[in-house]
């Protein structure tokens, strides 16, 4: 592909990654996955639910997409590390979306625990996708620790507040040594496009799609938005001006 997005030697078919959490049903999740054109979806590990019918894995298989297991809900490095190892057992993949959060109010990552967990998991041979805040220094440390990508948030999980601090995201992408994947906070298509325009390599969206009134339509919107943002980034936007500049020349106007 001319403009490939490659992680750990794997070229993904799309720069949109889909989080399945929040989908009203497996059927809705499947419709969203297909409409999104994604090649990678996240799943979690939870206790067996006797009432559950079918498995998200069947959906994933039918759609022919890769799995990115997460460590959602972990508050400590130890918990997250153990969860990652369980995920490797369960899903037979070294890829893991590392989440180590600091509280339930904000679900924001805990920098210290996150970095500790990332270092250990890299040492254990995982391909680590760390969900981090928008701190350029922490992002650099995670990359230096051997993470395959860094996943700064736009705003807290599920808030739909978009990218609250584009300046930080730009500071991260302009110095990044690994792909930057915007994770969390995306509310609608323009947020995803903006992320790509800021130099992100990909966008992960979950609630914005799964909890939209029509998840499949929003998934298609996100597919186009991520592609649009990427193309705009490559195309080279016009500079911002304080004053106007005519798109139609005044020269040659008739005297009427």
């Amino acid at each position: 592909m001319a403009d490939a997005f490659t992680v750990d030697g794997v070229t993904l078919p799309s720069r949109l990654i889909l989080g399945t959490g929040g989908a009203p049903s497996h059927a809705a999740a499947e419709a969203a996955i297909r409409a999104s054109g994604t090649g990678l979806v996240t799943v979690a590990l939870r206790r067996v639910d006797p009432t559950a019918t079918g498995s998200i894995l069947d959906v994933v298989d039918r759609c022919g997409v890769r799995l990115l297991p997460n460590t959602a809900g972990c508050f400590t490095a130890a918990q997250a590390i153990r969860t990652a190892h369980l995920a490797r057992e369960a899903f037979g993949t070294d890829w893991v979306k590392l989440e180590v959060i600091g509280d339930e109010r904000t679900l924001l990552p805990d920098a210290v625990e996150l970095l500790a967990a990332a270092e250990k998991l890299v040492a254990d041979g995982f391909t680590v996708w760390p969900y981090t805040n928008d701190d350029p220094i922490l992002a650099r440390r995670l990359a230096d620790a051997g993470c395959a990508v860094v996943m700064p948030l736009g705003s807290p999980i599920g808030t739909g507040l978009g990218i609250r601090n584009p300046h930080n995201i730009a500071l991260i992408t302009e110095a990044a040594t690994v792909p930057v994947v915007l994770d969390a906070g995306i509310g609608t298509a323009s947020d995803a496009a903006l992320a790509m325009e800021l130099g992100c390599s990909a966008v992960l969206a979950a609630s914005a799609i799964t909890r939209a009134a029509d998840p499949a339509v929003m998934a298609e919107a996100m597919r186009h938005a991520v592609h649009a943002g990427r193309l705009a980034y490559l195309a080279g936007r016009i500079p911002r001006r304080h004053h106007a500049e005519a798109s139609t020349a005044f020269e040659g106007m008739g005297e009427l």
Binding site: G19, T20, V43, R46, V48, S55, L86
Partner: protein, 65 residues
């Protein structure tokens, strides 16, 4: 013999293995992982016998962001 499975008490036959409890708990053939007393148990070791008061966590894939 009494063990804890996914946070709930369960009585199992003496000499039960991890595999036995997994079988009783989920029909899932794959996408399943087990922790025994907080430690991961690779599928290769599911033949391991349980002891009184063991804590078993049996986890499967679920939707996640």
């Amino acid at each position: 013999m009494n063990v804890t499975v996914n946070g709930g008490d369960r009585e199992v036959a003496a000499g039960s293995t991890v595999a036995d409890v997994v079988r009783q708990t989920s029909s899932a053939a794959r996408g399943i992982a087990v922790a025994l007393n907080g430690e991961v148990v690779p599928r290769a070791d599911w033949s391991r016998r349980l002891s009184e008061a063991d804590r078993v966590e049996i986890l499967v894939a679920s939707q996640g962001g």
